[in-house]
């Protein structure tokens, strides 16, 4: 038996997980409309690849990854693209984001799927396939998985951790996935292990999910893998990546490092499963398991297409009449969905119907009494009461000194605060203010650099112009000087006087002669051109042409006269 370690802090909220695992995974019916946001992962925004009116097939690429740290998006079913437009996103702000609106045709017709044997492919190619299949971290952080699948150059990968912790109350999507589709998870973990060349694979599951542990153990045994399936003590947030790494390996990932630099990498179970589907079945990420629970008649886990509007999804669970809100994610870290039109996305692991009875309104915020309870439960050993103080005073530099960016917003501090202070909200506020300032600072620096470059260029151009003018002036002076010299020469030797006087006259005559010659050449050219299509004409046609020519003649004479008059005027 592996020795387990402990992480500091943590809380034990009521798990509320039982109601939603009573039934197996249900396949959600096709909704009448799918709203697929293009930006569903961390990193770059995928570019839309379809237009309104276009027909798409299930699994067809509709948003292409625009850079390495980005992830593709696909049509979840076959149908017609109604629009590519801004729609409300599954985001606490409720602001719109560019989405592809698809009307399903009900046929659910797939694109051509090509199952691949990843062992025969270059690792780089496998990562590309994962990116283009839209495989991202499905634990909720939606970090593109392919970007995590490279070991650090200097440190060999010791442990690969498959995260089945799922510590958030109410949530059971990973639990049910492990119970029903353990084999896929184990095979996906095998892909990750081979890409990372990890020595050991540890599957960490909270010990309140004995069925999942058993199913995973059975699958590992069946496939003949040497993975270790380990039940870890149930304590929120044991499913946090850094916490699970700490519990299973005793390694503490410092703020300044990423886990591969410590020889360990962590993936969610659902991510491993989708990676397996993407490589071995050629199926991109089109759906995910979402727990529908809380204030509903039928709590259950559903395999639901991404882009399904919340309205159609919650109808499956028959929400009770006093439901007044829907939370996305768990009660500790989740946020309220901005409306029933917002779609489910790759980050949606759980939808909790809330009611005043289930989540009674928080008692009003009271002053901090500096009891230190928040510091005791903080799994990252921060001092939330200090950070709160500075965030409240908008002293953001100080919050950074207290390592606010190590905060994972798990909500333990808010959970235990006897003064009901929404600590996490203060930290989120401080973090986004700091980010926005950083963005502004970067923009200011860029503007300064551009301004300086422009000034430099202006100065250079000015200098070049001045130089050009000076050169021209010098040349002029030289020209002026030259005739003066020739005149002085003339004065000294009187034989060439006549020649010099004749020179300007001669030049004029030569010019005139050239003009006359050019005009003569042009006239000859005009005359040499024979009119085409004059052969084989009928008598009537010839007559017509003659008439036209006759009409033209006086006009030509007139224009010649005009030209003469003009030239004579010019001469005057």
């Amino acid at each position: 038996m592996l020795q387990l370690f402990k992480f500091k802090g943590g809380v034990k909220p009521d798990s509320n997980k039982t109601p939603s695992v009573q039934m197996p995974i249900g396949i959600a019916p096709l909704p009448p409309l799918l709203i697929v946001p293009l930006h569903q992962s961390i990193g770059g925004k995928p570019n839309p690849l379809v237009e309104a009116g276009e027909r798409v097939l299930k699994g067809q690429l509709i948003g292409g990854a625009d850079q390495w740290l980005s992830s593709a998006v696909h049509a979840p079913t076959s149908g017609t693209v109604l629009a590519v437009e801004e729609r409300v996103a599954a985001h606490p702000s409720g602001l719109p984001t560019l989405s592809v609106v698809i009307e399903p045709d009900g046929r659910d017709a797939w694109i051509e799927r090509t199952p691949l044997d990843y062992t025969a492919l270059e690792p780089e190619r496998v990562r590309e396939i994962l990116r283009d299949s839209g495989v991202v971290g499905l634990g909720g952080a939606v970090f593109p998985s392919h970007a995590k699948l490279a070991a650090a150059k200097s440190v060999p990968m010791e442990e690969l951790i498959i995260n089945g912790g799922e510590c958030e109350p109410f949530m059971t999507c990973d639990d049910i996935l492990m119970r029903e589709r353990a084999e896929g998870i184990v095979r996906g973990s095998g892909i990750f292990r081979d890409l990372l060349k990890a020595r050991r694979v540890l599957v960490g599951i909270e010990d309140n999910k004995p069925e999942a542990v058993a199913a995973m153990k059975a699958a590992v045994e069946k496939l003949g893998e040497n993975f270790e399936v380990i039940a870890v003590p149930t304590r929120y947030p044991a499913g946090g990546a850094k916490q699970l790494i700490r519990v299973l390996t005793g390694k503490e990932v410092p703020a300044s490092k990423r886990s591969p630099e410590m020889g360990v990498q962590c993936f969610n179970v659902a991510t491993a499963y989708t990676a397996w589907r993407a490589i071995a079945h050629g199926e991109p990420v089109l759906s995910r398991i979402v727990t529908l629970t809380g204030n509903v008649e039928q709590p259950r886990n559903w395999d639901v297409l991404l882009g399904t509007p919340l309205r159609d999804f919650v109808a499956l669970g028959k929400p009770k009449s006093d439901t007044d809100r829907y939370l996305m994610g768990g009660p500790m870290m989740g946020f309220e969905m901005p409306g029933l039109d917002a779609p489910l996305v790759k980050a949606t692991n759980c939808i909790i119907a809330g009611s005043p009875k289930l989540f009674p309104p928080l008692a009003p915020e009271m002053p901090c009494i500096r009891c230190g309870a928040c510091a005791e439960v903080c799994p990252h050993e921060l001092q939330p009461f200090e950070m709160y103080w500075f965030a409240r005073a908008r002293n953001f530099g100080k919050t950074q000194e207290y390592n606010i960016f190590d905060c994972i917003e798990c909500g333990c501090c808010s959970y235990v605060c006897p003064s009901h202070i929404p600590l996490v909200q203060y930290f989120r506020f401080a973090k986004s203010e700091i980010w926005s300032r950083e963005r502004e600072k970067n923009m200011a620096d860029a503007a300064k650099a551009r301004f300086e470059l422009r000034n430099e260029r202006d100065e250079r151009e000015k200098a070049e112009k001045a130089e050009r003018l000076a050169r021209a002036a010098a040349a002029k002076a030289a020209v002026k000087k030259a005739p003066a010299e020739s005149v002085s020469e003339v004065q000294t030797g009187d034989t060439s006087v006549a020649a010099v006087a004749a020179a300007p006259l001669d030049a004029e005559a030569v010019k005139k002669a050239t003009i006359v010659a050019a005009m003569e050449r042009a006239r000859q050219q005009r005359e040499s051109v024979q009119p085409k299509n004059t052969e084989g004409l009928t008598v009537a046609q010839r007559k017509e042409i003659a008439e036209i020519e006759a009409r033209r003649l006086p006009l030509q004479e007139l224009s010649a006269l005009n030209a003469d008059a003009q030239s004579s005027q010019r001469k005057k």
């Binding site: 702000s93 719109p96 989120r428 203010e433 503007a447 551009r450 301004f451």
Partner: protein, 180 residues
């Protein structure tokens, strides 16, 4: 007596030479205070302070010629930071504080005169003579310098609205409820 004078004179000579050498070797280029002030200024290069750019304004502040409340794009926060740095009193901003804006060219009306291109301090306008011009939004600092030179008044300022990329978590507010 003489030795004492000699020792003192020698000491003065050596130390003076050392100081002279140091002043040449470790000479500070530019005024470090100006750089610090400039880092606080928003670099819009708009000239609303009355100086032709952020650097001249920073120099004027460092010389004590200019007040610290003349920069509207920097806002009250900028004034506060400058006051902190220079140990001066915070003064109310000498203009109205505006939200961040970008310039937008109405491409139907643009005649391609290039006047705005010449006015833009950060080269954020693309175009050529008798060709339509356009503003590279991500580079525009919202300085409004391009508006005046336009002969057909086809440039307008638009406030940058909140979107999902620049959205920020709000300061937590306590809702007040009537109890009685």
């Amino acid at each position: 007596m003489l030795t004492a004078i000699l020792i003192m004179a020698l000491g003065a000579l050596v130390l003076g030479a050392a100081l002279g050498f140091a002043s040449i070797k470790f000479k500070v280029e530019g005024n470090p205070l100006v750089e610090k002030i400039e880092a606080i200024l928003p670099q819009t290069q708009c000239g609303q302070c009355g100086y032709p750019g952020c650097k001249p304004y920073a120099e004027a502040i460092a010389d004590g010629e200019a007040e610290i409340n003349l920069c509207p794009p920097g806002g009250m926060e900028g004034v506060r930071k400058l006051a902190d740095l220079l140990g001066r009193d915070v003064k109310p901003l000498d203009a109205e504080e505006k939200p961040k804006q970008v310039a937008i060219i109405d491409e139907q009306t643009c005649i391609g005169c290039t006047l705005c291109i010449q006015a833009c301090p950060v080269d954020a306008i693309v175009g050529a003579a008798k060709q339509m011009h356009t503003i590279v939004e991500s580079l525009c600092t919202g300085c409004e310098l391009c508006i005046k030179p336009c002969p057909v008044e086809c440039i307008r300022m638009e406030t940058i609205s909140e979107n999902i990329d620049n959205w920020k978590w709000k300061y937590p507010v306590i809702e007040l409820k009537r109890v009685a």
